[in-house]
Symmetry: C2
Subunit: 350 residues, 2 copies
Amino acid sequence: MRASNLALVLGEIHRRGPLTRAALSELTGLTKTTCSKLVGDLVEAGLVVESGALRDGERGRPGVEVRLSGDRVAALGLEVNVDYLAVCIVDLTGRVRQRRQVHVDNRGSRPGRTLADLRELAEAAVAESGLSIAGAALAVPGPVHDGVLQHAPHLGWHDVHVDLGMPLTVDNEANLAALGELWFGSGARDFLYVSGEIGIGAGLVVDGALFRGAYGFAGELGHVVVYPDGPGCRCGARGCLEVYAGQEALQAASSMERAGEALGLALASAVHLVDPGRIILGGVFAPLFPQLEKPVERVLSARLGGMRTPPSLGVSELGSDAAILGAAGHVIRQVVTDPAPYTSTRSAPA
Amino acid sequence: MRASNLALVLGEIHRRGPLTRAALSELTGLTKTTCSKLVGDLVEAGLVVESGALRDGERGRPGVEVRLSGDRVAALGLEVNVDYLAVCIVDLTGRVRQRRQVHVDNRGSRPGRTLADLRELAEAAVAESGLSIAGAALAVPGPVHDGVLQHAPHLGWHDVHVDLGMPLTVDNEANLAALGELWFGSGARDFLYVSGEIGIGAGLVVDGALFRGAYGFAGELGHVVVYPDGPGCRCGARGCLEVYAGQEALQAASSMERAGEALGLALASAVHLVDPGRIILGGVFAPLFPQLEKPVERVLSARLGGMRTPPSLGVSELGSDAAILGAAGHVIRQVVTDPAPYTSTRSAPA
């Protein structure tokens, strides 16, 4: 009961911003006494602070607002991608406190070695932040099932049980990048986020929630069929989107036109199938948007125009930080949804 | 309060099957007196019946079970498709009481004329059933927004505000067929239903609910890109799935092989994007399954095998009835979710 009430109070503060104890009592339906005790526990745990100077005996004074604290508890967002390792620390208020990215070629790397490097990068960031880390989440460039990275063809990794010596959520890079866009991006709540990295993935966000599919493998836009008889793809099939618009193809391309057309074709199929509210291009597609926009729009319009208005096309402002931000945001949501483990159980001071 | 309690009681009976009043009281948390009154109202409305002979003064006797009644209230499922009109009447227990299908070429037909014919077909079925119709839903071969059929290219209809002179829900044929499969089919709760008619559509069911997309246009499998430079499609694009595997292409095809391969290519893109629990082929694809199975499986395996196990592929048993059953099922769920309008408000007899 205490655990769910703590979550109720912290959830309101997280959702609505600073609130007085009286407002919290009204919003949660809890008595003022109960609310004050719960707020006391959250203050003591460093999850919230109260605004304004408080003198002894004045706790709960009207006008004093309770808000999330950025000073004690924070979330660790991590990423192993094909050509970089990245780490961020985001405090409970959503402010990025540390951000480190190391460019390194992880193709054909040994998972143990790469994860040890990532851990070192994370530990340095944590030490410098001086914050207490509530949890960590890791983005990887491949599908994940039950915490196991099934395969990351560009890394050459298969069936990797990721262990960083800390409690960890592991998820596909495109999924976490889409959540990063949801929580730290444009504010849209219905969109298809397209992640352009060495591989191409996508995350569909529907009414503020990530659509994962029956087995958690949804969003593999990079392997949607573009030209069935096209060049071979690393996945074993032919003519997948990634062959034409993956980062390696983009670097080798004599023309961005062809990449944009291929992206438009795959997105046309995606729009027909999932009808996203809008399309948001992220990762390397964002800086290339000036060159990609026209061919993508032209193909979307040609293929969809007879049936419907194509959804709007935009870019993410988050660059390659989208996935680590989504990872950290996931941890923040874990804390807000269940803050009890971060609080002590003794009574608040009278 | 009474309305939501009626829904609570009827919902438990609909979900769990026959229940005693005591069990209903326990499941709903309502007092036995309240439950008995609500059951009385539902009996009077003809929505439920009590099993076993009851003598005066014995209402609520333990052992007597309350179950849905098939004898008074029923749902009307309707369909306008390119080459047929169809009607069914399904009672509250889910039993099909009337089913009529008339083959007629509706290409280029006048909407008013066709809808009048459908209404006539429905009225004859209703008259013969002797049941009281709680509501109607209509399946149409095109996308629907706010009750308006946007366009049905095979019919040549555009922006048709459908009016049958009765309260009516209008929805896309593939959506309702997927719901038909959910409620009257294999029992699966996660699947992509593929509707093979003159046009090809699909309905994605996720955890027992239809996925509609941001604007209600999801599931347009027929226009997923198969060969970007292929023959022109009625939608204005080129090389859509429908060009290779729509009913007209199937009839003209020298080989089912090519249609199956095209279907496999579009389904491979769909699996990568939405990761359905399984794929269920319906409509004309069901009887053709023996010829389609191998090419579809081969293409799915070739395109997905490097990344994941392809989902299982099966057929619907509902044939061309899927959409009218889904339409009727939708109405039944409306009654169960909100039975108050079908009951009187006076007290049950003491």
